[in-house]
Amino acid sequence: MLETALQFILNGIVTGCFYALVAVGLTLVFGMMGVVNFAQGEFFVLGGMLAYVATVQLGLPFYAAIPAVLAIMWVVGMVVDYVLLRPMRDAHMLSTAMVTIGLSIFLLNTMLLVFGAEPKNILSGFSSKPIFMGGLLITQSRLFTIVISVVAIIAVHLLIAKTRVGRAMRAVFQQKEAAALVGIPIDRIYRFTFALGTTLAALSGILLGSVFVASLSTAELTTVKAFVVVILGGMGSFAGAIVGGLLLGLVESLWGGFVSTGYMDVIGFALVIVLLLFRPRGLFGMAEARER
């Protein structure tokens, strides 16, 4: 019993890593730019699909495919920000949301045309033989996922906390006008942040694709779940996204393991709806109620 529970927890952590990586980008972009990116799930899937192209169709080794795909996704993020978001900087939030919804529809259906509907395997080169750790078992690719996610999260944390650009990001986030006045190029910081978010979502998609399969059908649910994580963790909060992601992964895994697999995907929404019923301002009080 205890061992089963631990196994579910371990699985939940892996899933939680996927959610956390997707949600970090979403929360940064929201917190700083006030943009709700409905295409985040598509960026996630695109990462997986490109990794499939790189490893299966081009025959690149997995370790080379990852940076290549991430570099491409970085550029994708920059272009999307430049072409679609930059002209909408002063627009109403609804309009920006419509633009990202349009982007998500476009990306999803174009990927459907290009890659087809069937799920894709990413060749990670890991053997599928599980590793036993005590009574727990974990596959190599899952272990790899956890390691890479932790590295990525620490790297992003250091980036935000220690570097010049990270400091500029925080400055823009906290007090945009002052940031502009000391000469921080707000527009470029936005672009950097958006590209970072895009790349992290893609990394999550690559990792998930290497553990399971990369599938277009996961895009929409991924976006919505990432929103759930962002709300749980507090909009705009980096640490909140990580904690919220892991929390959602764990709850889903335990619920699916002990209660019912059918409603596994519902649990996160239920959590958020219940939360908002009792705390309309969100878990961390970041949400602003409408009547101020």
Binding site: F30, V36, L84, P87, M88, A91, H92, M93, L94, S95, A97, M98, V99, I101, G102, L103, S104, I105, F106, L107, L108, N109, T110, L113, E220, L221, V224, F227, V228, V230, I231, M235, G262, Y263, D265, V266, F269, A270, V272, I273, L276, L277, P280, G282, A287, E288, A289, R290, E291
Partner: protein
């Protein structure tokens, strides 16, 4: 609401009522039935998105509730289809009341996300609650409506034209409701909410109650649309809760012109016709939609109707500086 628009709406309805007398092509009739269906949906969504100014991404939930209510009531309980339509509307309105009570307190972004989450939850429940909803299989062979007086069958809906007029009737009811809404004090209230919450409060309008009322009316209309859809298509599955209906309605509202009465009708006509006649480009259709949604939002924020109205006003020399509306 200006005279141009009222005339446009009346013209739309009149032409629609007369069209089957001239055009008997069955496919055309079908396309128009779908256009009416979409027009009801788009008009109902527009109440919240256009008049209150909140982006609800959960509107497909009301369509789905209406469709499922109708499917279950008519196949399992033998309720006549024509009675199902208002009942489905009421059930959807009830759901709207509950969801609205929870979500409308939330600030912009949260509202968008949580309404989407609600629709998603309902879709997942419908997929899994097999005893009631039959899961992914859904309901098929949903009976058509039938209108009889004292055992004498007046209409049995064996022909498409009868559905055509049924859809038109529901649409007319919808337009009536929306017109009433737009012209009554509601509109003053709702638009005040959209423009300025604080101001609305200052003049004694409770923005929350206003938004809730609007939301519930929208849910009622969408529920009726869902019910009609169930009896017309005769099949209902979990995809009625899906994002693709949501996107289609949103496109129609955006392209036609949000916050107007005629706009959603125009949007439904343009996109509905394109959807049905351009089946051959079915595959790239949604990709094109995505781009279209982006372009319309960025370059034509007032929609097609805005373009018309603006032209007129500029001709009349009314528009000078103030064309910069969002």
């Amino acid at each position: 609401m200006n005279r141009l628009e009222t005339r446009g709406v009346l013209l739309f309805l009149a032409l629609a009522a007369l069209a089957p007398l001239v055009i008997t092509d069955q496919f055309f009739i079908h396309v128009m039935v779908m256009v009416f269906f979409y027009a009801i949906l788009a008009s109902s969504l527009n109440l919240t998105v256009g008049f209150v100014g909140e982006l609800s991404l959960g509107h497909a939930a009301f369509l789905g509730i209406g469709a499922y209510a109708s499917a279950i009531l008519s196949t399992e309980y033998g309720l006549p289809a024509l009675a199902c339509i208002p009942v489905a509307g009421l059930l959807a309105a009830l759901a709207g009341l509950v969801i609205g009570l929870i979500t409308l307190h939330l600030e912009g972004h949260f509202f968008v996300l949580i309404t989407l989450a609600f629709a998603e939850v309902l879709r997942l429940i419908v997929n899994n609650w097999i005893e009631v909803t039959r899961g992914p299989l859904g309901f098929s062979s949903i009976p058509p409506p039938r209108l009889s007086i004292g055992g004498h069958v007046l209409m049995d809906f064996s022909s498409r034209v009868q559905f055509y007029y049924l859809a038109l009737a529901v649409l007319a009811v919808t337009i009536g409701v929306v017109l009433l809404y737009a012209q009554s004090a509601f509109r003053v209230g709702a638009v005040a909410v959209r423009e300025n919450r604080r101001l609305a409060k200052a003049v004694g309008i409770d923005p929350f109650r206003q938004a809730l009322l609007t939301f519930v009316i929208g849910a009622f209309l969408a529920g009726m649309a869902g019910s009609f859809y169930a009896h017309y298509i005769t099949f209902v599955g979990p995809e009625v809760f899906g994002f693709s209906f949501m996107v289609t309605m949103l496109m129609m509202v955006a392209l036609g012109g949000k916050g107007t009465v005629l706009g959603p009708l125009l949007g439904a006509l343009l996109i509905g016709v394109a959807l049905e006649y351009l089946r051959f480009i079915n595959e790239i259709r949604l990709s094109v939609f995505g781009i279209l949604l982006i372009l319309v939002t960025m370059y034509l924020p007032q929609g097609a109707i805005g373009l018309l109205a603006w032209r007129r006003m500029r001709k009349a020399g009314i528009v000078k500086v103030s064309a910069v509306t969002r």
